[in-house]
């Protein structure tokens, strides 16, 4: 169960932090230049952090108590593949959900 106090700290903290990043240049930095190496690392934050978050959940899913499970693994691969080649986020989500639902329905 999620603790209510923790939840609100996260909501408010994440809200302030996210606004801070959106406001950083528009409000404070203005037209001043950023060091190129900083911008270069900023460009890779999302493509690094999101996969790092997901990879352990794919290999050791919460729903199975951390046991590797082939249906979830295949659904994950299919979702990623559809997203990568079609560039269509809803299509990838629906395909992945269908594979997961059907797979667990037949084998589960």
């Amino acid at each position: 169960m999620i603790d209510t106090g923790t939840l609100w700290i996260v909501i408010v903290g994440l809200g302030l932090g996210s606004f801070g990043m959106r406001f950083l240049f528009l409000g404070l930095v203005g037209d001043r230049e950023m060091p190129p190496w900083v911008l270069r690392h900023l460009r890779y934050t999302a493509v690094a952090v999101l996969p790092a978050l997901i990879a352990p959940l794919v290999i050791w899913p919460r729903g199975t108590g951390g046991e590797f499970e082939p249906v979830r693994f295949v659904a994950a691969l299919v979702t990623f593949a559809v997203g990568y080649w079609s560039k269509n986020v809803p299509a990838a989500m629906l395909t992945g959900a269908a594979v997961l639902g059907l797979g667990l329905g037949f084998l589960g």
Binding site: L14, F19, V47, L50, T79, G83
Partner: protein, 241 residues
């Protein structure tokens, strides 16, 4: 008339923002569903979407909250996902940096992925527009996107309680993220960053407090930045010879 110019820019923004409803509605609803599954009330789920207004980081924070990760790790991980918004902010500054302070603050709040993507494209196409017209366009794009994000969250949270749990719903979140990651990988450097991050997070999964995520993320960022630097150096050499 300046006022009618601003209105026509606003209307163009609304038109450009509308197609994104196809993404925003299911995505917001999914957040609402998963938030109620995690034990959040409708009000708490809505607050999340209104205060944070950044889908990917909301999903990440929700997952880590369920994992009972320490608050600092949750905030660091979720904010790292939103670091790209500092880049959006930097990219918008030359176009709307001359606006009054409060308008820049409003723009900053609504600076979400889709609004940024539309504005970046539109400002380039209409270099002659005034900052006021650009602000009009900006709010135009945000008009269908942001309020619907809140509404979809409420709808999902209300429906969520009625959906029976089980059947791999634990995996809805990884599926949602994987669907988003695919289209993000547009260059070889993106692919290297993602692969390095995946490897790092798996190798360091044994670290306490979900630190494996932070370590994997940093490894991925450095790998991506370094790949980009080398590819640029190589192509610069190629043009010289």
């Amino acid at each position: 008339m300046a006022g009618s110019d601003v209105m026509s820019s606003y209307r163009r923004g609304v038109k450009d923002g509308l197609p994104f409803l196809l993404v925003i509605v299911p995505f917001g609803m999914l957040f609402g569903v998963l938030a109620t599954e995690a034990g959040l009330s409708v009000f708490e789920a809505l607050s999340f979407s209104v205060v944070v207004i950044a889908g990917a980081s909301q999903f990440a924070a929700l997952q880590l909250l369920q994992d009972q990760a320490p608050v600092l790790i949750i905030l660091a991980s979720a904010l790292a996902i939103n670091l790209r918004m500092a880049m959006y902010s930097a990219a918008m500054t030359p176009y709307i940096g001359k606006l009054p302070f409060w308008k820049r603050a409003v723009a900053a709040y609504f600076l979400v992925d889709q609004v940024y993507a539309c504005a970046a494209l539109d400002y380039e196409r209409h270099p002659a527009e005034s900052a006021a017209q650009r602000f009009g366009y900006f709010l135009g794009v945000a008009t269908p996107i942001c309020p619907v994000w809140y509404l979809a969250t409420i709808l999902g949270a209300l429906v969520g309680g009625a959906i029976s749990t089980g059947y791999g719903l634990d995996f809805a979140l990884p599926i949602a993220f994987l669907a988003m990651i695919g289209p993000m990988l547009r260059t070889p450097a993106h692919v290297v960053a993602a692969l390095a991050a995946v490897t790092g997070s798996l190798v360091f999964a044994w670290l306490p407090f979900n630190l494996g995520l932070i370590v994997g993320g940093i490894i991925g960022m450095v790998a991506g930045a370094e790949t980009e630097r080398r590819l640029e150096a190589r192509s610069a050499e190629g043009t010289r010879t």
